[in-house]
Structure formats: structure tokens, C-alpha cells
Symmetry: C2
Subunit: 300 residues, 2 copies
């Protein structure tokens, strides 16, 4: 099954107490696509970059089998995010957001993307997310991410968009912000009233939950010995999640649970290095091995 | 197998946004003993109360089959804790701590408690915890709890005590405070260097982890629809945990994992009402049913 993802392709400058990178490959759609590419070679990207976007990044994405027909290259500079993490490596402080070509981005879904069965709306303005949905009419599964910015400043648009999605993925802080509920479970149950059939809440070191009106699944995080940079973990989770589902074509509860665990596994690799560096050497065997480990640490 | 528990038996005045109780039954050893009594009728209590301690509470504990030979009744008033919880029901604000007879408490372990195989050192001054260990020499398993107060103000004594325990149980905030590690996993691994063979970290709504040098287990919390008062949840967890182990006499990794889940289940009932009110009507069937539910929500 093919996946269309719309989101950002960016250059990130990231600083943590353990190191830093300048203008490294980043962006929500990038992290998503690369993670999904470990499960399916049918990932179709919709995004925009500027003239300064290095050809080597294009080649890297191409080498992963990602369809780049929907990646517009326009006059100007690529979206550039600069952030810093403190000792706890949780929650980045944004130092600078240079939208550049992203400021006027209007997602155009290429003709031959429009029959895609899986859609991932990465974290962009919810109005743009809706524009994408109007262009892809027959998707089997629409999965959507968001962030604090849109919850605070585009709440009405966001509430409209999430009425049209099957699965909303967000982190615990966002779930609390969206619902005014302090407990993550209660927040998730409340979000189901807003429209999505399923809510997945990512809780960082505490794992993730996947909740519908009739089911509840809890996955732990993978216990990490070392972590360098959490950037992209959420999008990488989503990439593993949707990538696994698209590879099986099965969206039953049982398959969704495995997909949540694959998302968890992919995120655990992402944070081990800056940018997408860990993903460059990652193998399918390593992924399967961590999947098995999560089974072992939850069995009783 | 018999369990000796030493800790507080108290009267608590608790206020939450959802209600309040005045001078209700409380105390770490109380919550522990009652939870453990659902698994074994061989729980032996060491604690102290004052002349004002209501006879009905003595009768309630007796009705649970708890051995009260070690419950001293002395001149003065019973330990009285007053606390208040905010909207999130996480982390009490202590309004008043009246130690009363607890101020001069010196735990005396009755002769016929001294061959107990399981010992639970509830959250009291670590020097008193050591006094208990010198009186019970042949225990198979010593489990210990602590709190922020002792970590901050009796750190040396606490570090000495935990060298002599098999399992240290503490919550996530305490684990961070004890180790200066922000991530709970890293905090748990570091505590293993201090002496205990196993560390169990309770993470509230995020469940619990049980960690040794060679194993890692993660249990979710039970997804609660409603919660009234979190007081005693930690001690109730410990009571379910040690109570289950004592009922089987098996401290293998597999048994410990089940015990962690039973601890989780017992804590989930405790928080549904004030004081030990929920425990008064709780049945073994209800416990088993929630245990099965936790299996269902973690399976993939």
C-alpha cells in the first residue's frame, strides 16, 4: 500500500549538552519518510525545499526508495530550524525558526499520488493539512500529527481537520493542552469525542498508548542506555507506525498494536544520534531485534 | 510465608478537589498490610498508635487477619497527617505533620515475628529501618520504601540501609532525587550500584518498572476512569507486590513480574476512594479481573 506524507523537509541546527550539528538534514516529512522506508518502498513525499538544499540529501532520500515527485524545489532558502535541548533532553527550546520557502508552501499532491491508501499529515498548519485531504479522496487511513503552536493559535482549524482523520498522534503535553485534562488517559478519551477513531499519545520515556472507544493498548519506551538528540523522534515513531501498517495492509487492533511497537523501536534508534545519522546505518535485523526485546520486557 | 511490615499507622485528614476526610484511617503500614492481606493471612504489623486510635480501626485490621501483636498502643495521640491535593491529584501538599507518639517510636519486633521470611520496611527514618533489620536476621527477602524527606535529610543513613535490602521501591521523583538522573531508567540502573539487587520505580499514571542488572520489566498503570484520592497508593502497591510474593514463596523474575502487576492493580483500587474505603468492599474476583485486563492492554 502506498503512503503519501506531507510535511516539512528542513535543515536543522541542533545543540544538546552532548554535541551539536549545523544545518543537518531534518524536517517532519523527512524523519517520517525515512522511518517508513524500512517497511515499504512506496512512500510518496509532498514538501518544499529551497535552492540551497544539498543534492546529497536528495540522493539519500532517493536511495531509501522514497518517491520525490512531490518535493518542490523553489527559489529561496530551505526551512531552517535552530533548537537547543537541556540536560534532560526533553523539550527543545527553539532558538530560531526561519520558514523561508515554507512560508508560502501550498501542498500540491501529484496526480499519481492521489490514489494513495495511507496518508500521513505531518505537523504543519491544519489548514494545509485539510488542503491535502481535499486532494486525496479515497484514502483508507488518514493519520495526523500536530503541535502546541497550532493547538494554541489555530485551534478552530485544527478541530476541523481532526474531524476528518482516522488516527491522531500527539505527545502527552499536546494531549493535555488540547483537552485541559491533566491525566493522559483522560485526555486521550476526550480527544475521541473530537472525531478521530483512534488517538495515540507518545509519552517519551514512558512509552505510548493507543486508545479507541473499545480498546486500550500500552507500549513501554525502549529502555535506552544512551541518547544524543531527540529531534525527529515523534515523526520517526509515526513513520514506523504507518510504514508497518502499509506493509501489511492490515489495520486491525492487533496490527495497530504491532505498529505502535515498531514506531517505538524506530524512535529509539532516532534519538541515538543527531539528525538522521543513526538511520543511515540501521538494518532491518536491528529493528526486529528491538521489537523482540520490547516483547520480552512486557511479558508477565 | 509470613511478612513483617514496619511503618506508620496514622489518622489522615485529606482534601482533594473532589472531597475530603477528617482523621480517617491511614499510614504506610496500614495501607501495606491491608493490601497484602488479600494475598496472605500471614501479615505481621509493627507500628505504634496513641490512646485516641479508634477501636473500630483495630477491629478492621484484625478482620483482615493481620497480626497486631507488634502494634504498640502508648500514651499520647496517634500520628496525624494532613494533606491537600490539587486538580491533577498528583503530589500532595502537606498541611500539617503531627508526629505525636511516632516521634519516639522505636520498632520492637515481637519474638514470634523474628523468623519472618519477608520484610517490608515502609517509609520511615532509615535508622529505624536498620533497627528492624538487626532484629530479623534470616529473612529471605527485604523490601524497602523511602521518601524525599530521608533522601534530602538522612542521605547517609538511607545509603547504609539500602545496602542491606534486596528490593528498593520508590517513585520516579524520588529516584531522580536520589541519583540526580533525569531519566527514570538511568536513575534505576544507578541505584543498583548503591546495593539493592532490584529497583522498582513507581511512575504513577505511567506504570512501574522493575529493574535488575540482567532484567527489565515494564508494567503500565491500570487505565482509571475516575480517581478520588491517591493517598496510600505507593504502600498499597508494595502490599500487593510483597503479598503476592509471600503467597507463592517464589521470587523468580517471572513471579516478581506478576507481583508488580498485582501491586499495580491494588494501587488502582486504592485511589478510587478516600482512606481505605475501597479496600473494605474489594473482592479477590475484582483483583483477578483487573490483573487480566492489564494483560489484555499490554499484549501485541
Amino acid at each position: 500500500m502506498s503512503i503519501v506524507v506531507v510535511g516539512s523537509v528542513a535543515l536543522d541546527s541542533v545543540e544538546t549538552p552532548l554535541g551539536k550539528v549545523e544545518s543537518a538534514l531534518g524536517g517532519s516529512a523527512t524523519y517520517f519518510s525515512v522511518a517508513a522506508s524500512f517497511f515499504t518502498k512506496n512512500v510518496k513525499l509532498v514538501a518544499v525545499v529551497g535552492e540551497d538544499f544539498p543534492q546529497e540529501h536528495i540522493e539519500f532520500l532517493g536511495s531509501k526508495g522514497i518517491d520525490l515527485e512531490g518535493l518542490q524545489k523553489v527559489k529561496g532558502k530551505t526551512f531552517h530550524w535552530s533548537g537547543r535541548y537541556g540536560m534532560s533532553l526533553s523539550g527543545a527550546e527553539t532558538l530560531k525558526t526561519e520558514l523561508n520557502v515554507f512560508e508560502t508552501f501550498s501542498p500540491k499532491v501529484p496526480e499519481n499520488y492521489r490514489n494513495a491508501k495511507y496518508v500521513f499529515l505531518a505537523n504543519i498548519n491544519p489548514e494545509l493539512q485539510m488542503e491535502v485531504l481535499t486532494q486525496i479522496k479515497n484514502a483508507d487511513l488518514v493519520v495526523c500529527d500536530t503541535m502546541n503552536l497550532w493547538i494554541a493559535h489555530r485551534r478552530d482549524s485544527l478541530m476541523e481537520t481532526i474531524k476528518h482523520v482516522d488516527i491522531l498522534i500527539l505527545n502527552d503535553a499536546e494531549a493535555r493542552q488540547l483537552t485541559d485534562e491533566q491525566k493522559v488517559d483522560k485526555a486521550a478519551w476526550k480527544i475521541l469525542d473530537y472525531g478521530p477513531k483512534r488517538v495515540i499519545v507518545k509519552k517519551g520515556e514512558h512509552g505510548a498508548i493507543s486508545v479507541t472507544r473499545s480498546s486500550y493498548f500500552s507500549s513501554p519506551a525502549y529502555p535506552l542506555k544512551s541518547m544524543l538528540d531527540p529531534t525527529g523522534a515523534g515523526d520517526t515513531f509515526a513513520g514506523g507506525f504507518v510504514g508497518y501498517l502499509a506493509s501489511t495492509g492490515d489495520v486491525s487492533e492487533q496490527s495497530i498494536r504491532k505498529a505502535v511497537v515498531y514506531g517505538t523501536v524506530m524512535a529509539s534508534f532516532d534519538v541515538e544520534d543527531f539528525s538522521l545519522n543513526r538511520q543511515r546505518t540501521l538494518t532491518k535485523d536491528e529493528i526486529e531485534s528491538r521489537f523482540d526485546e520490547i516483547r520480552i520486557i512486557t511479558e508477565f
